[in-house]
């Protein structure tokens, strides 16, 4: 749904001279919990401003302080958001070369049966699949110097390295590759192969010590994998395209500070501290309380800041950095979960080992969201399929409470899979709401204090232009 406001013919030039009535833009004050500053937001366009608390009334009443300049630029901001929310073409694929995994994590969004007995793509099929994807992207992405991305994901991709590694070599000119792995099979040879080909590598670790990691991430027989991850982190210590995912649950909520210390000490440049997605029932058994999660995550963020100030080296928490970006430069965001519609089925899609196509990996266990098969139906058909449309049609402008929420385009109300499975419908919120309220408020406080650069990677704004500045 495009939300552009057109001033009808015959309206007086004064239409829109007030905020919050008639053709005037909505400008909503938001208490960000800062002693000196409040925010005033234009929710539809993701517009923000910070106003000294004692000048809040003036900022809303005196058109020269804010309203006039915003009104002038609003169509441009709206067009930018419309393009970001509805105008993108896929340029990445989350590729499961196997549906099997050698671990049995409590919360995994891939059903246990699939992880035990699922398909394994053959080397030939994988090459054929990459050829089809190359062909598709050549038309869908048009003229661009940007390469489409293939991320080998899973289940556990390295269980099928015999198929994946030749694929990376055969298509290294065509795609930018990444891999997300539990690290148990990441031996020295695999590290050498991947790092010499500049493949970005994501590892998963849930705790600062084995006792914590073992609560949620172990082999099927209960064996610990914690030490294997630490070994890989040591070997990859200077690799700039390394990252770590921590899934935050009741099992590690109180251990995030030592975990952040460990990741920083091991020179990990970036991590995700992800709230557990509650799409499948197993995940809900370790779901933290919304507010407790917010408090723990904010403490962990502030810990990364202390470590940076002390050492000069950053550990970027990418899911938080993305919220800062969503505020400062909406089109520069890297993660596409916290925008609505989300990136699933429009910025990227997922391929299962059978070639089945899903809007996102999160849907791989949900047959109803299968949009077709890469080999039989083709990609363009899948993107237009009813299951994909269900996901790409989920828009925070259309359901409560998100449609009146001032921060809806910083949060995006993730995740459709979770909303559908846990809360019973697409047009509901996901598992966490307070978390995003608190993270966005924290982000505004950080901006108010001029600390945003400390939480973002160097050069985050290279390639951006300043559209607006007050």
């Amino acid at each position: 749904m495009l939300t552009t406001v057109h001033t009808p013919v015959g309206q007086p030039a004064t239409a829109g001279r007030f905020c919050n009535t008639g053709y005037g833009p909505s400008l909503m004050p938001l208490d960000i919990g800062h002693p000196d500053w409040m925010a005033i937001l234009g929710p539809e366009t993701a517009f923000w401003s910070l106003v000294r608390r004692e000048r809040l009334a003036d900022a809303l009443a005196d058109p020269e302080l804010l309203l006039e300049s915003y009104r002038e630029r609003r169509p441009e901001f709206q067009a930018e958001m419309d393009q970001l929310r509805f105008g993108l073409q896929p340029s990445a694929v989350y590729f499961n070369a196997t549906d099997r995994c050698n671990l049995d994590c409590t919360y995994c969004y891939i059903p246990g049966d699939l992880r035990r007995h699922g398909a394994h793509m053959s080397g030939d099929q994988l090459l054929q699949a990459l050829a089809r994807l190359k062909e598709y992207f050549a038309t869908s992405m048009g003229e661009t110097t940007r390469k489409p991305r293939i991320i080998f994901h899973g289940a556990e991709p390295l269980l099928n390295r015999a198929a994946i590694f030749p694929g990376i070599d055969a298509f290294h000119d065509d795609f930018q590759f990444g891999i997300q792995t539990n690290s148990t099979l990441l031996d020295a040879e695999a590290i050498d192969f991947l790092t010499t080909r500049a493949v970005s590598i994501g590892l998963s670790l849930d705790g600062p010590e084995a006792a914590v990691t073992d609560r949620t991430r172990t082999a099927w027989n209960g064996d610990s994998v914690h030490a294997a991850v630490l070994r890989s982190l040591e070997r990859l210590a200077d690799y700039p395209a390394l990252s770590v995912i921590t899934t935050v649950t009741t099992a590690n909520l109180d251990r995030l500070l030592p975990l952040v210390d460990l990741l920083h000490e091991m020179k990990v440049p970036a991590c995700l501290l992800n709230p557990v997605r509650c799409t499948l029932p197993g995940a809900r058994t370790v779901k933290p309380d919304d507010r407790a999660l917010a408090t723990a995550l904010i403490a962990a963020l502030e810990r990364t800041h202390v470590l940076y100030r002390a050492s000069g080296r950053k550990l970027i928490v990418a899911n938080y950095a993305n919220i800062l970006l969503a505020i400062l430069a909406p089109t520069a965001r890297r993660l596409m979960c916290d925008i609505s519609p989300c990136g699933g089925g429009r910025a990227f899609f997922a391929v299962a080992a059978s070639g089945d196509l899903f809007p996102c990996s999160e849907f791989i266990g949900l047959e109803a969201f299968r949009g077709g098969n890469l080999f039989q139906d083709g990609i363009a058909n899948a993107l237009q399929s009813a299951p994909f449309k269900l996901v790409t049609g989920r828009d925070v402008e259309r359901f409560a409470p998100c449609n009146t929420c001032a921060i809806r385009h910083y949060c995006g109300s993730p995740c459709p899979a979770e909303a559908h499975e846990m809360n019973g419908a697409m047009e509901r919120t996901g598992a966490f709401c307070a978390l995003y309220e608190e993270l966005v408020r924290h982000a505004f406080r950080v901006i108010a204090d001029g600390r945003e650069g400390d939480f973002l990677w160097e050069g985050w704004d290279a390639g951006t232009t300043t559209l607006f500045a007050l």
Binding site: I40, L50, R149, I245, N274, G312, R334, S361, T464
Partner: protein, 45 residues
């Protein structure tokens, strides 16, 4: 090798005399990350 660490710069000075502050930057949208994978766009060497 890890480059020499430089001391972090002072956080940006905020102009507290202004009643209203706002910034919006823009670029071509090309984010494709999801919560189960980080895309930091940091080029491996």
């Amino acid at each position: 090798m890890q480059p020499e660490l430089k001391k972090p710069e002072e956080s940006k000075k905020v102009d507290t005399s202004k009643p209203v502050r706002a910034v919006r930057k823009s670029c071509t949208a090309d984010g494709v990350g999801l919560s189960h994978y980080i895309l930091m766009d940091r080029k491996a060497k």
